[in-house]
Amino acid sequence: MRFAVIQFPASNCDQDAIYAIRFLGHNADFVWHKENSLNGADVVIIPGGFSYGDYLRTGAIARFSPIMQTVCEFAKNSGIVIGICNGFQILCEAGLLPGALIRNRSLQFRCEHVFLKPATFNSPFTCKIPQEKLLKIPVAHGEGCYYASPETIQELKTNDQILFQYCDKDGNLTEQSSPNGSLLNIAGICNQTRNVCGMMPHPERACELILNSEDGNFIFQSIIHSLSKTADKTAIKS
């Protein structure tokens, strides 16, 4: 399996994404934002960081990079794209995901582990997460409060597009358990066609026990699993 990690100026979790994927034994390499080919990658990761310093608005400038055209095409053709933190913000700005991420209600940057409750297992990003499992994964952001219009929120619910919600250690979706004040405690969502995911927490930072959690691997393993399934299907067909 080959992952492309898009590198924008000041993407700074790019290397961590590569580390996490390689740790699982798969291939990952950078793709420079000025390029317009994904070099045949199977999955695209838009990593965290502060692309363009997060000036103006988080993610606002990066989405005009040449590579984003290619990523949009890739997504339209059912390619799997996951945006983490700044990557989530970029995907929202690019219109690949609905809604927007605004400043944390505390007005402060927050770096800490949180608990996440998968809201659906029906997605390439959550399918291998064990039922009842809460994921312990860190967040590190100043602008992670998910906002969308009431109609959009309704659509997200109707279409089962909410992937992760912040919860406490017992799985309750309390206000206290959210580090940023997101609507419905939303931590991650997918698009209607379920191939594009955005999430504020950093699964790539929870990929081995020495980093305090391995729970992020469930998400990458879900992606790998669902891709190998489709790969098998095409293999059978051909």
């Binding site: 979790c13 997060d54 402060q108 800490e112 860190p138």
Partner: protein
């Protein structure tokens, strides 16, 4: 363009003495031009020349077989950590700029120290911040504190470097003159060390990074004066604004360029900007340098040569390139969309020649300004307060021993309370290396292959660099910064030793062998003999302790002239110490782990030979009685060494579950922290209780007479060289005999478990709900800031 005429007033305004002016004329053999006067004034300022501290700094131990680049040689020292790997680290202050504009002052402080590290060819991998403010009850202090923390968060988070440790103290003494010391550490291979040298006659000199504006004009000079309302007002017009996004790009581009081998020398433009970087690189290489200011990218209109040379605009670098390899510079900097300009070349004249539109505006022997500044031996005199401090006796206070409330008071004291309000604003995890987060004795960071700067084969000019799959042998670095300013105020010599020893103890508790130190001397005006005495005594203490512990000083920073309009700061020599852990199984944290674990105390419960029994200068006296008085706890260096060896021996033996050193607030505070400081996730602490016995029978095991011990000294005294450790019950005996071999006092004092902290002493049983203690300790600063 006409330049102002040089008058005695102008000379004085430049902070140069009449003798110094004579010396300038002697160097030049003529009157200086206005631009030259500016150049001398910044280069011979305290900040750049260390003219009043150099004789003292010479007494520091600076050698060890591990040192690859020593103190003072380059922008930062470098230490060998084995297997061809090395670390570069340094600390720097940004006190005065932060007093004027806390957010930008602190932010640019982070930017400056990160540049010092990648200038050495190292990839910066972590930052640490050591902060001092006035009392948190003061709203102006809260504004500064809030701004400083937000500024550090802004710069470090955006740059993408984890801020993994630090310290914060609140004390009246720092009101109006906060201390902001920032440390950065980077890693590299031995063959990747870069030098700040203008080598190779005829080599082109490049300027890279954003355009020059009038920011921080003569900031070095500003840092070299007492902080007054007037000096602050002057500086307001010229506040430097940090651009972490730019710095991230400059860093990546420089590391990529260094990998190509096209670079002959590289230096950041920090204090004294273009001036300092040009003359220092030439002086180090024994060459000369000539630059044309018209070619320097400029942001503000009509800048004069004087302004261009003295500007401290941020995120700029000077790069000397091997002739013929200019294209690589251009391609790489274009790839990162960074401005660059070729502004001059290396000469063989030994002179720094500055032209503006072809006309010479400065022509000075490079060494004369860079390394041959005047040196002064200042007068030192013991301050009058010292004798008063020494005569303090515990009988002078009306003692009231109420341990239940007093422990809570101590845990709520913002200098002791959890600093999560601070570090949760910092990204302390980015780059997947932080193994022990802020909140334990020392932070621990891992070094893996992707921490290293790129190698030639990783660079793919014009496109993304590759990340190698190459494995390196895993290593861990532990860092801690320490300094109890009250101790140093009360006894600069002992207090400074204590700072070094505490840093080393924090590392040992984390499983690390101390390697080296970078220090930040925050003191007052050196022309005041009493303040100079503090500095001199402090340096003597640091030097002695570092020598004893075999932790050479690899570099540091002096920030003098720290005083607010209200008065002096407490002298504060921040010690940042770095240690090495070679095996991941040796990484140790401070919190209690499991029910039933046995708790031992290594070290004497109380130093009974100290007349104040460890209460002098203690947080207890401050918090309960509001006094800062008495002699600080005694620092026995031999014991410190023994203790560290004992702990490390035990950790390496695999029998230790947790280790936490006793510092401010004494044994009771230390035990409480062991119960409450493990945070699993947001709003999810891992609380655990403990039952402690400190009655006569236990005290006797340390060969002490319980009757001679003050109860408050037992619980809250700050006797040094003590560590609380836990182990499985079956290992306790082994640990005791091990300690006996080292001849280090040790005894079992209790066991882990339950939901209460219970401490039995001869005066009674004291009992606290750990969840309540946690609540007080964890939320104290947030409450004060609300």
């Amino acid at each position: 363009m006409t330049e102002p005429k040089i008058t005695p007033e102008l000379i004085q305004k430049h902070n140069l003495s009449p003798q110094e002016y004579e010396q300038i004329k002697a160097v030049l053999g003529r009157e200086p031009t206005y631009t030259e006067l500016g150049i001398f004034s910044v280069m011979w300022s305290e900040h750049c020349s260390y003219k009043n501290t150099r004789p003292l700094l010479k007494t520091f131990p600076t050698k060890s077989p591990r040192i690859l680049v020593g103190a003072g040689e380059e922008n930062a020292g470098i230490i060998d950590i084995g297997d061809g790997l090395a670390i570069a680290f340094k600390i720097e202050s940004h006190n005065h700029p932060s007093a004027v504009e806390p957010f930008q002052g602190a932010a640019t402080g982070v930017g400056g120290i990160i540049r010092d590290i990648f200038t050495m060819g190292a990839r910066p991998i972590c930052v640490l911040d050591s902060l001092r403010f006035g009392e948190i009850s003061n709203s102006e202090v809260r504004r500064l504190f809030n701004g400083v923390v937000a500024g550090i968060a802004h710069y470090g988070n955006c740059f993408g470097i984890p801020t993994i440790a630090g310290e914060v103290y609140f004390d009246e003494a720092y009101e109006g003159n906060p201390l902001i010391n920032v440390f950065c550490l980077g890693v590299l291979k031995h063959n990747q060390i870069a030098r700040g040298r203008a080598c190779g006659i005829g080599n082109p000199v490049f300027y890279v990074g954003p355009a020059t504006g009038r920011d921080g004009l003569a900031g070095a000079a500003f840092a070299s004066q007492d902080l007054t309302d007037e000096s602050a007002e002057q500086q307001r017009g010229a506040v430097q604004v940090g651009d972490p996004f730019m710095e991230k790009l400059v860093c990546e581009a420089c590391l990529e360029l260094l990998a190509t081998g096209a670079v002959a020398g590289i230096q950041d433009m920090g204090a004294a900007g273009l001036t300092c970087s040009t003359c220092e690189t030439a002086a180090r290489a024994d060459t000369g340098i000539e630059i044309e200011l018209k070619k320097v990218p400029q942001r503000a209109p009509d800048m004069t040569p004087y302004e261009i040379m003295l500007s401290e605009s941020q995120e700029r670098m000077l790069i000397i390139v091997h002739k013929g390899r200019e294209e690589e510079v251009k391609t790489i900097f274009d790839k990162w969309d960074l401005p660059w300009a070729q502004i001059g070349y290396v000469t063989d004249t030994g002179r720094m020649v500055v032209k503006y539109d072809g006309k010479v505006v400065a022509d000075i022997p490079a060494k004369a300004i860079a390394t041959e500044s005047p040196v002064y031996h200042r007068e030192a005199r013991e301050p009058s307060y010292i004798s008063e401090v020494r005569s303090f006796k515990i009988e002078q206070i009306q003692r009231k021993f109420e341990p239940s409330e007093q422990l809570e008071l101590l845990l709520a004291n913002p200098s002791i309370a959890s600093k999560n309000w601070v570090f949760r604003q910092y990204d302390y995890m980015v780059r997947n290396n932080t193994v022990v987060y802020p909140g334990s004795d020392a932070a621990v960071i891992r070094i893996k292959a992707d921490c290293l700067p790129p190698d030639p084969e990783d660079v793919n000019i014009g496109s993304a660099t590759k990340i190698t799959d190459a494995k390196i042998s895993e290593k861990f670095i532990a860092v801690s910064s320490d300094c109890n300013g009250s101790y140093v105020y009360l006894d600069p010599y002992e207090g400074s030793k204590l700072a070094v020893v505490e840093a080393a103890r924090n590392l040992a508790c984390s499983g690390a062998t101390p390697l080296g130190v970078t220090d930040n001397l925050n003191f007052g005006n050196p022309y005041n003999p009493e303040l100079f005495w503090q500095l001199k005594e402090s340096v003597r203490g640091i030097a002695e302790a570092c020598r004893a512990l075999n932790t050479p000083i690899t570099g540091g920073n002096c920030s003098l002239y720290n005083q607010s309009p209200i008065g002096q700061i407490d002298p504060t020599p921040t010690i940042a110490m770095v240690g090495l852990i070679e095996d991941r199984n040796h990484i140790t944290t401070q919190w209690f782990k499991d029910e039933g674990n046995t708790i031992l105390l290594l070290g004497l419960p109380v130093d009974v030979e100290d007349p104040l029994q460890g209460l002098g200068g203690s947080a207890y006296l401050r918090t309960v009685y509001g006094i800062k008085n008495g002699t600080p706890p005694r620092c026995d260096l031999n014991r410190a060494i023994l203790l560290n060896e004992t702990i490390l021996g035990l950790i390496h033996g695999g029998s230790i579950k947790s280790a936490h050193d006793c510092s401010e607030g004494g044994l009771a505070t230390c035990l409480a922290e062991c119960c409450i400081s493990h945070q699993i996730a947001r709003n999810t602490p891992a609380l655990i209780g403990a039952e402690i016995n400190l009655t006569k029978e236990v005290i006797e095991k340390f060969k002490l007479d319980s009757d001679k011990i003050l109860p408050e000294a037992l619980l809250f005294g700050e006797t040094q060289n003590r560590v609380v450790i836990t182990t499985l019950p079956q290992y306790a005996g082994k640990i005791l005999s091990r300690a006996a071999i080292y001849n280090y006092p040790a005894a079992i004092i209790g066991k882990v478990g339950g939901s209460k902290l219970i401490i039995k002493t001869d005066v009674g049983e004291h009992l606290w709900d750990v969840s309540k203690l946690y609540d007080i300790w964890w939320n104290s600063i947030a409450k004060a800031m609300h």
